[in-house]
Amino acid sequence: MPNRKRTLEYVWIILVILTIFAYLLGYLKLIGTSLVGVLLLSTFIKGQLVIDHFMGLKTVKLKYRLIPTVWLGIVISLIAAAYYLPVAAVH
């Protein structure tokens, strides 16, 4: 139990740090083509931390954990594709 308790605190701290990172990218107008990929990766990590540790799916049978994880992966990939693919490729 003490370990699990500490894990939650670490998860919260990582989520806060990644959120500050995202905000600074926008606030300091640093967001550019390459950093969008980093931002999306950090968003995936944040989402997975919520799925595993807050929703509690890490200790549940894999299929239930996979549903939101696959959803998150698809959504992040689609956002990345919309950002990075040349415009002509979708028309």
Binding site: M1, R4, K5, L8, V11, W12, L15, V16, T19, I20, A22, Y23, L25, G26, Y27, I31, V36, L39, L40, T43, K46, G47, V50, I51, H53, F54, M55, G56, L57, T59, V60, K61, L62, Y64, I67, P68, W71, L72, I74, V75, I76, L78, I79, A81, A82, Y83, V87, V90
Partner: protein, 199 residues
């Protein structure tokens, strides 16, 4: 050579019906997220210019608020799932304390979002202003309603903890409400960088 085996729970926490709702909500928002991202491709300048009217700081503060509220809800869940017959009173009391913090976070989120909408509508912006604001309003108003509903659910769970309504054998309803709240958090975690930051 010893091999550690972690036993996995058969079902996710809470009532199984809430997970069907959660999966449907994720798909619905996922389609809106993809719709936003692909619409942006055809109107990049307009999306970037419109985005400047949003307050990134309020989006950032709201992200911190939701993450923290989710943390409080997990602490509340731990209080009831770890309770024993002889600690029902203390466990419910501890859970109610964490829930109260989470509800206060939910209210803070709603107030900040309301002020943002007040500013946006005050600028004369509506669903038909342009595609950016159509998606912005669809996503954020829809999400706002989820936070509102989630706060009401947490408040009802809070009331039950005040009457020591949860026992070691009966706390499924608690976990059901908590799972819904974490879904609201998960959706905002994707929404914030997509709508407020990426340009």
């Amino acid at each position: 050579m010893s091999k550690s085996v972690t036993l996995k729970e058969k079902y996710p926490p809470g009532d199984f019906a809430i997970w069907i709702i959660i999966y449907v909500e994720l798909v619905t928002f996922g389609l809106l997220f993809a719709g936003y991202a692909f619409s942006r491709r055809s109107h990049i300048e307009m999306f970037n210019d419109s985005q400047l009217l949003l307050n990134q700081t309020s989006g950032f503060i709201n992200t911190l608020i939701l993450i923290t509220s989710s943390y409080f809800v997990v602490k509340a869940v731990q209080s009831v799932t770890g309770m024993r017959q002889e600690s029902i009173k203390e466990s419910n009391l501890r859970a109610s304390k964490w829930l109260l913090y989470a509800i206060m976070c939910g209210i803070a989120f709603l107030v900040i979002k309301f002020l943002e909408f007040y500013h946006i509508f005050g600028e004369g912006i509506t669903l038909s202003t342009n595609k950016f604001f159509m998606f912005y309003l669809l996503l954020t108003v829809f999400h706002f309603m989820h936070v509102l509903l989630g706060s009401v659910i947490l408040f009802n769970i809070y009331k039950k903890t005040r009457t020591e309504g949860y026992t070691p054998d009966d706390h499924r309803g608690f976990e059901t409400g908590a799972s819904y709240w974490h879904m609201v958090d998960l959706l905002w975690i994707v929404l914030f960088p997509l709508v407020y930051i990426i340009r």
